[in-house]
């Protein structure tokens, strides 16, 4: 099932596929020009291009995967109405294909690291763990949002606005050090912000502010616990409603 869903996505059109790869790169280019040439925020940060691109591709995966996962159940309604397929596979396959996009974007990131003469460090090896955490967050959100969307078709507009707001609430283009410490502590509770900052710590510079550096060491399980509680809730909700998807779409 997953592999067939891949096929649909990838064989659609080559250009469409290239677009989804290029989208974060274009966004990166725009932000880079704005923030280094006009606003001058980025110019004091070492390796700002890598710093920015890392934030942009992670964020892009987050928005892309959650939005497509949200509509996935409804858009495959033709199938769900006719065959009894495990519904969760539909959500998982959309998220995974977005995840493949992210991995390809990472190749671009590595090229950019080389251009920027960013030295390789062993902490890079921690990145896959962070990606897994992000995948987990996105999957949970995908289950929740796709279920809500079956019932409320206008939820997608609301999610769009939420994403727009969250884009600025997440330290993607600005460094977290720009905001007061109190606010830093609030912002870092956002799992995406926490993951982006951790990834920057791993790849770009150990000066990046992370959840770890902001709080006492004892609190490190907090983000993980938050995510686990949230995903347990989402999965339960999805499971309870999935039986009725065929009727409600």
């Amino acid at each position: 099932m997953v592999s067939t869903d891949f096929k649909i996505r990838y064989q659609g059109s080559l250009l469409g596929y290239a677009w989804s790869l290029l989208k974060p790169l274009f966004l990166f280019l725009i932000l880079y020009i704005v923030f280094t040439k006009f606003l001058k925020i980025g110019s004091d940060i070492p390796h700002y291009p890598v710093y920015l691109l890392l934030g942009v591709i992670l964020w892009n995966f987050f928005t892309d995967a959650t939005s497509t996962a949200m509509t996935s159940i409804v858009s495959r309604g033709d199938l769900i109405k006719k065959i009894n397929i495990p519904k969760y596979l539909v959500v998982i396959s959309t998220v995974i294909s977005a995840f493949i996009n992210l991995c390809l974007n990472f190749i671009v990131l590595i090229v950019l690291c080389a251009i920027n003469h960013l030295p390789f460090s062993l902490t890079w090896l921690l990145v896959p763990v962070l990606l897994l955490e992000l995948l987990f967050v996105v999957l949970s959100l995908g289950f929740l949002l796709s279920t809500v969307y079956v019932r409320f078709k206008d939820a997608s507009y609301i999610w769009e606005v939420v994403l727009q707001g969250a884009f600025y609430a997440t330290p993607i283009l600005y460094p977290l050090s720009l905001v007061p410490r109190r606010i830093q502590e609030v912002l870092i509770l956002n799992p995406v912000a926490q993951i982006i900052q951790d990834a920057r710590w791993c790849i770009v510079s150990h000066d990046s502010i992370t959840f770890w550096s902001l709080t006492q060491r004892l609190f490190w399980p907090v983000p993980i616990a938050m995510i686990i509680i949230f995903s347990a809730f989402s999965i339960q909700y999805f499971k309870a409603k999935a039986k009725y998807f065929a009727e409600d779409i």
């Binding site: 769900i80 006719k82 065959i83 409320f152």
Partner: protein, 387 residues
């Protein structure tokens, strides 16, 4: 014999969420006290039946009676509100042909997609791929995108994939409604094959000719959603009782200025019936509701035999019609047709367009002599010694 499917006290209600299609409405309704209540549409109430292994089981009912809903419940697409459905064996998940077909993909990719939904592995599909293409008679078209296929080609391809399904129980929903006569022949051959292999087949249809030809038992869903299982001959006569001379409901999708409201058949004794003796005079009475401005309408009468062979097709041009309800009588003198099921179809035409098509009439002709073949021959014979 073992049961393939057991349905016990099945009920199904559809929840219609009257109060909230959108989050906005939902939130608004929270503040209003007398918000609309959720409506439940009851489809089935406490129905029970069993389907035995190796049985060819028909499900018959009018449009909207819940045939497809029942099939979807059996397939596990819908969950029953209460009651139990026990499936004993591997069930073919296909209710319709070509599920998951994507118009943007080539024929080849769609075969792989469709077949993998049937539960085939990639290797297995590669093995049977050539057979599928050959059966569909689409050699040379497989790299074409599906959207460039004609609908007939799509159906052929879908059918060729679907019949590969290696399941014990097959659910089939009116596949025969599409496709030409040659394709239907293929379907019939496939059904014959299934019968020989003693597969369990559940077929939803409203074609009594197919029911009579293939089914062992038939489940009837009537207007009140009561279900009852009949043997084939009982089912056919029951169907005729229910449908004979019945006033047709208006087609909500096509409001036409002129329509055939009902059709009645009479035998030579002028009894209203759907069973006619061979070579008997048939009187057909058409009630035509003319709300168009035309003073005359044309009527086409066609008679189809088994496998949709067209036996008769004639036009009555510009029969005078007054505005309002008209009764039209057509008399067919002695048709030389043998025993069997025949479908009568009437078309109603104005000067420019077709107004209506009446196609729910199945006639049964009974020949008391033991002839075979479609036609009753008129013959003479003689023997003479040749020196």
């Amino acid at each position: 014999m073992e049961n393939a499917i057991t349905v016990k006290k099945l009920s199904k209600k559809f929840r219609e969420q009257a109060n909230s299609k959108s989050l906005k409405e939902f939130l608004l309704n929270l503040s209003i006290k007398n918000r609309p209540k959720n409506k439940n549409a009851q489809i089935f109430k406490d129905i029970s039946f069993t389907i035995k292994k190796g049985e060819f089981f028909g499900i018959v009912g009018r449009n909207g009676s819940g045939k497809s809903t029942l099939l979807k419940i059996l397939a596990g697409v819908y969950v029953p509100t209460s009651g139990v459905v026990e499936i004993n064996g591997r069930l073919n998940p296909f209710i319709e042909l070509g599920v998951g077909f994507n118009p943007e993909l080539s024929g080849r990719d769609n075969v792989f997609l469709n077949a993998s939904l049937l539960g085939f592995s990639r290797d297995k599909i590669t093995k049977i791929y050539d057979d599928i293409v050959e059966f569909a008679e689409l050699d040379g078209y497989m790299d074409l995108k599906l959207k460039h296929y004609s609908s007939g080609m799509q159906v052929r391809l879908a059918f060729s994939v679907a019949i590969r399904a290696e399941s014990d129980i097959l659910l089939i929903d009116e596949v025969l409604a599409v496709g030409d006569a040659a394709f239907q022949q293929k379907c019939f051959k496939y059904f014959d094959g299934l019968k020989k292999e003693k597969k369990t087949v559940i077929l939803v249809t409203h074609d009594m000719a197919i029911v009579e030809r293939f089914c062992d038992r038939v489940l009837f869903i009537d207007k009140t959603k009561e279900v009852k299982v009949y043997g084939v001959s009982e089912a056919v006569s029951h169907y005729n009782d229910v449908n004979s001379g019945d006033k047709r409901g208006e087609n909500p999708f096509r409001k036409t200025p002129a329509r055939i409201e009902r059709v009645q058949l009479f035998n030579s004794d002028l009894d209203n019936t759907l069973i006619i003796k061979a070579e008997e005079k048939i009187t057909i009475r058409l009630y035509i509701d003319n709300k168009s401005n035309e003073k005359s309408l044309s009527i086409t009468t066609s008679l189809f035999g088994n496998d949709w062979v067209k036996l008769i097709d004639f036009d009555i041009y510009e029969a005078p019609m007054s505005i309002g309800l008209n009764e039209m009588e057509i008399v067919l003198d002695s048709l030389p047709l043998n025993s069997g099921k025949y479908s009568l179809i009437f078309g109603l035409y104005g000067k420019e367009t077709q107004y209506d098509l009446y196609d729910d009439l199945t006639v049964q002709i009974k020949n008391l002599n033991d002839n075979k073949g479609i036609l009753i021959p008129k013959y003479r014979w003689a023997v003479k010694a040749i020196k």
